[in-house]
């Protein structure tokens, strides 16, 4: 009976799940770009999606202490291609932004990017 091979199939599924397959309405540009090293603190973060998408969650955390930066939520729940997140005055250091959004086709997309503020 072929059903005895089901455990092989389950293993294959888990392997497939760990592989990047595809996403919907991907982010095509972000400013500051991932890995950027900035001389001055940015006042905003700009995100551009391929299709209209709705930002659901956006957090910015300082690497030094892991604390989240307090942000207003005016940029959330708006369906658009371009999104702007206003930032408070950021101190020097490494930051990681994490976001989740809903694409035009209803799928969930997510990602993260980092930048460093290092005044010369």
């Amino acid at each position: 009976m072929p059903f005895r091979h089901i455990h092989h199939a389950v293993l294959a599924i888990i392997m497939l799940l760990s592989t990047a397959v595809m996403a919907h309405s991907p982010l095509i540009a972000v400013t500051p770009v991932d890995g950027a090293r900035l001389a001055t603190a940015p006042q905003t973060i700009e995100m551009q999606f391929r299709d209209p998408s709705r930002l659901i969650r956006f957090t910015l955390a300082a690497e030094a202490d892991g604390a989240s930066v307090a942000l207003d939520d005016s940029h959330l729940m708006i369906e658009a291609v371009d999104h702007t997140v206003s930032l408070p005055v950021l101190a020097a250091g490494d930051y990681t932004a994490s976001w989740r959004a809903m694409g035009a086709d209803g799928h969930v997309i997510r990602g993260r990017f980092s930048f460093t503020i290092a005044p010369e």
């Binding site: 990047a20 397959v21 595809m22 086709d105 993260r112």
Partner: protein, 296 residues
């Protein structure tokens, strides 16, 4: 970063595809072949269709809850009314409502015997299949992709819906009469499949070609590679179907008793490969990670 939603989303989708295609496929089998199969098989199919429809209704709800959880990224989001509202306003919400209507119709059809039930079966199966075209890639690439996907899914449902009834008939084929009936229905299914399967394949390939845009994209993107795996599995499925059509069915018609057992074994393999195809379809339709820097 790997999240629980990366498993829950495709898993829910896989189970839902199975239930919806099983329910719609069972109805298609009833419409086309019910009058040619013994009463025990008729009851078997009706029971399977009913189970698939009820499971589908539960899974439609589960998909909405999982989608809301995936949006928020935590378990509490699964019951967040704001996120659930967003999901309901998205194409997934519309798809779920239409699927719910179709599946509810099927549960009613399974209980009520009345005139016009053949028409009701066709409408219910079409409604369930239509719901699958209202969400995902088909919604963002125009009406052509929606029509292609509907044709593809109709063919898949026709195929899947016949596997378990045929398997059940193989198990019961112990005398000349039941063998003759099995040979007849397997032959009828095969002749119908020769018309349906080319449509299924052409529609699926055209849909995939529009989606990936180019051969290069198919070979270099994760989506394209997953699609190639699916195409390979479908090729295997076609090989099994061809074995049934051109070797086992003629043996059944010649009265070879061992042919029923061989057909049952081949159908077991078809079911296994079909499950693998559905797994690939669930992965293809689910957003996991992005092959772009700055995204996960």
């Amino acid at each position: 970063m790997f999240e629980i939603w990366d498993i829950l989303r495709p898993l829910t989708k896989f189970c839902l595809y199975l239930a919806m295609l099983g329910a719609a496929g069972g109805l298609i089998f009833e419409v086309l072949f019910r009058r040619f199969v013994p009463e025990v098989t008729q009851r078997h199919v009706s029971r399977l269709v009913g189970i698939a429809a009820w499971a589908g209704l539960v899974l439609v709800g589960a998909r909405l809850v999982v989608a809301a959880g995936s949006l928020g990224g935590d378990l509490a989001s699964m019951t967040d009314p704001v996120l659930l509202g967003l999901v309901m306003k998205s194409p997934l919400g519309l798809s779920s409502v239409v699927a719910g209507i179709g599946l509810a119709m099927i549960t009613v059809i399974a209980r009520v015997k009345a005139r016009g039930e053949q028409a009701a079966r066709i409408v219910a199966a079409a409604t369930v299949l239509l719901s699958l075209t209202l969400v995902g890639h088909a919604t963002t690439l125009g009406a052509v992709t929606g029509v292609l996907l509907a044709l593809h899914l109709g063919g898949v449902a026709f195929w899947l819906g016949a596997l378990l009834p045929l398997r059940q008939m193989c198990g019961d084929a112990g005398d000349a009469d039941s063998m003759a009936m099995l040979a007849d229905i397997a032959d009828r299914f095969g002749r119908n499949a020769q018309r349906v399967v080319p449509v299924l394949i052409v529609a699926g390939v055209a849909y995939a070609a529009i989606l990936t845009g180019s051969v290069a994209a198919m070979l270099t993107s994760g989506y394209g590679l997953a699609l190639l795996v699916k195409i390979g599995l479908v090729a295997g499925l076609l090989g099994l179907a061809a074995r049934n059509r051109f070797r086992i069915v003629p043996a059944l018609q010649a009265g070879d008793l061992s042919a029923a057992l061989r057909l049952r074994r081949t159908i077991d393999w078809e079911i296994l490969v079909a499950m693998a195809v559905l797994v690939m379809s669930s992965l293809l339709a689910s957003s996991l990670t992005l092959p772009m820097r700055g995204m996960e």
